[in-house]
Homo-oligomer: 439 residues x 2
């Protein structure tokens, strides 16, 4: 009997395939078959090579083959301000450095800064990010050109924006973005009011109406600091979360960034409404915002992803380091080393992050039918010897620089740490020119 | 008038020279002149090239030229157990995994594990480490062969050791080590009783007598957990630090690892006795030990270095990541972003770390007369673009993999991330064989 051999575009083989499927299937000597933009099959290397004939082979050399990481909260273009001002009181940092620098933003600065962020993200294994900033049309364009997956949305608030001017124009700008990028293979537009402390209830309700009408997600900063909670209590007599519940803003397509300062009632509301959370441990640590009650949220069944936040408060976009910080921070905070085990943290940075963004049918795991967003990791380096447990390795030992290959949508963006199409030297030169002007 | 041009062995040039001298001198386009094992001069590149003729030039390509980092607390050979067991309760981790694995230790396992640790440390910019473990003769031998600087000492406790047997033999083993390695150019032997909870007052006093008689430092784990403090209180009616003060054990040549759980009185005693501290933020986080009051110790003038602890509780030896965690952890703990600023943290990982080990006349800064322990960092990678502040970059953005050159004692151990002499593939193969047996 003859077996049928199917022609495919790419096989990624010779590695530990970490699927992040619902069963957390791990295949010791596995392979992934890719055709066009999709994963066709995931199996042992023996089974796959018997079934498929691939035009191109990517050899993981005994390393790890896994889904590309999902960075659930970024301000990508803030790479331009990386290290501009650190170790300062929050208000000094914002008022004396970040806001003045942002007042001079242009679409070109945002475009170049985002291209640099995309380069850094691909080099460190991130294949999807969720962005909030100004001039987001430039972010969408940069991400699309580089070939990375992104949820992007223009930041909206009550006061005029350096981009669109008055707030009504911001809503219009957002709707234009939604129209322009509808059904794009990489870019999803979101409606992104900044936070309850700079957005009136009316603005938040208008934002929600646009999101509902267009079937797109919303992103908001929520309960990031004690200061914010105090301010909202003073203004509305309740916590930021209860305030949003009262005005009908909470929903399962709301992505809430930070969620550091939550009451029991807040957590109950977030669970009931199935609000999604983007946890940013390193930014919360560096800005001294506090420690988000992530273990409690997870216990209640809230879906939590991990984000780096902007480079100015991190100061990098390396999701592997972010995973490490997430695991360790909650252990020491709870004085319990079993909290936030490595497998949970890897899920947060992959499939759960995709779920947070509403992209879990698209990315976040290696399963037949999903888009081929794949990375491979070299585990032959001294700091990765020996390996007893793949999850533990990814969280506590691997860093972004150990990623060697990155695919998005079936396209190889990086191979052996070299970009296949992006002229990264030109990107670097552009941002260095921008930084020279800022300094 | 003719200027005299002096012949030297090596010039490291074309970089930001971060001296970490008492004035924190930073030279924008600087260079370092090296002859034999010593730094001859540190100045602008123009001044140095006018004064010296170098046999070899190392071009830092616009990057950072700085002192090699000092890892103030390691159990180097525990690389063999990297990721063997994580996310477990402390006693399960120790009793079910680490102690059984350590019971089977041999000098060869320690030797191979230490060689791997040295490889990892050199690749990530560490040029000096302070080790405590079993079979430390093998550690000294491995470090010496690799060419890295180390303070090493055999762990001593009341019960028999898999290495030397009864405790009296441990003291003898230590004295033999001291004799054998006296005046070595790289290795310093220390007297290393494990901790107050497994060392009787008599043992601690004998250890101190050996250290004093030989003029060598002492290393001890101290006040790592609440559990330890409770145990010592029960046994001796006082805190670990006051207990050590009572038995005459505290001194300026005592290196105390962890110091997580300290009372006001403990901190006063440590300040008065000028006890040195090795802070291990990532290990303390991962094992959920707690957060050491480092900002308070620094305020009192205590000298604090940074260490990674063993790989099994970290799970890497990257001091750049450790610096990042140190800065961020204390900010969020104090809810103050100005705490543990980047410059303070870089000092802790360089000159203050050297001071902790009693090696500040030897290493930890780039100053004429010191040994040439130097690293260079590539800052042309996307995650390091742009650079506004060198200290901030080192703490919040650089990782170990950005180190490209490492010197110890004037000898180039790594250039462009390749070892000049060490056969790292052979080291990796050896540890993989050991790990196979352990698993």
């Amino acid at each position: 009997m003859l077996s049928q051999v199917e022609s495919i575009d790419i096989v990624v083989k010779n590695g530990w395939v970490l699927t992040m499927d619902p069963q957390d299937t791990l295949i010791e000597r596995g392979a992934v078959a890719v055709s066009a933009d999709r994963i066709v099959d995931v199996d042992t290397e023996d089974a796959l090579t018997a079934s498929y004939q691939a035009a191109q082979t990517i050899d993981a050399r005994g390393g790890i083959i896994m889904p590309g990481l999902v960075n659930a909260h970024t301000h990508a273009a803030m790479t331009c301000f990386r290290g501009l001002a650190d170790d300062l009181p929050l208000m000094t940092w914002l008022n004396d450095y970040i806001f003045p620098a942002e007042a001079k933003l242009t679409p070109d600065i945002v475009y170049q800064g985002t291209r640099l962020a995309c380069s850094e993200m691909i080099l460190s294994g991130t294949t999807t990010f969720c962005d909030m900033y100004l001039f987001e049309e430039a972010v969408a364009r940069a991400a699309k050109e580089v070939g990375i997956r992104a949820v992007v949305g223009e930041v909206i608030y009550d006061f005029p924006s350096p981009n669109y001017g008055p707030v009504e124009e911001g809503l219009k700008y957002t709707e234009d973005l939604i129209q322009k990028w509808r059904d794009d293979s990489l870019i999803t537009i979101a409606v992104e009011p900044h936070s309850p402390y700079v957005c009136s209830p009316e603005l938040l309700q208008k934002a929600r109406a646009i999101a509902e009408r267009n079937g797109v997600p919303m992103v908001i900063h929520l309960a990031e600091t004690e200061r914010e909670v105090a301010e909202i209590r003073k203004k509305y007599g309740r916590t930021p979360v209860t305030h949003l519940a009262d005005i009908g803003f909470l929903s399962s397509s709301l992505i809430a960034d930070h969620c550091v300062v939550l009451s029991e009632e807040d957590m109950t509301l977030m669970t009931d409404y199935d609000v999604k959370v983007a946890h940013n441990p390193e930014s919360n640590m560096k800005l001294a915002s506090g420690i988000a009650p992530i273990p409690e949220l997870l216990k209640r069944g809230v879906t939590v992803g991990i984000g780096t936040d902007g480079c100015a408060s991190n100061n990098n976009l390396d999701m592997f380091q972010e995973m490490d910080s997430a695991a360790k921070l909650h252990k020491v905070h709870a004085l319990d080393p079993t909290v936030m085990d490595a497998r949970t943290v890897v899920r947060m940075a992959t499939i759960d992050g995709a779920r947070v963004l509403g992209l879990d049918d698209t990315t976040g795991s290696l399963e037949a039918g999903k888009k081929a967003d794949i990375i491979t990791i070299d585990i032959t380096r001294p700091h990765l010897i020996p390996m007893y447990n793949v999850y533990s390795h990814l969280v506590y030992a691997v860093t972004g620089s150990d990623v060697v290959t990155a695919f998005v949508n079936g396209r190889v963006l990086m191979e052996q740490r070299a970009f296949t199409a992006l002229d990264v030297d030109e990107v670097i030169a552009s941002v260095n020119r921008i930084a020279h002007d800022i300094a």
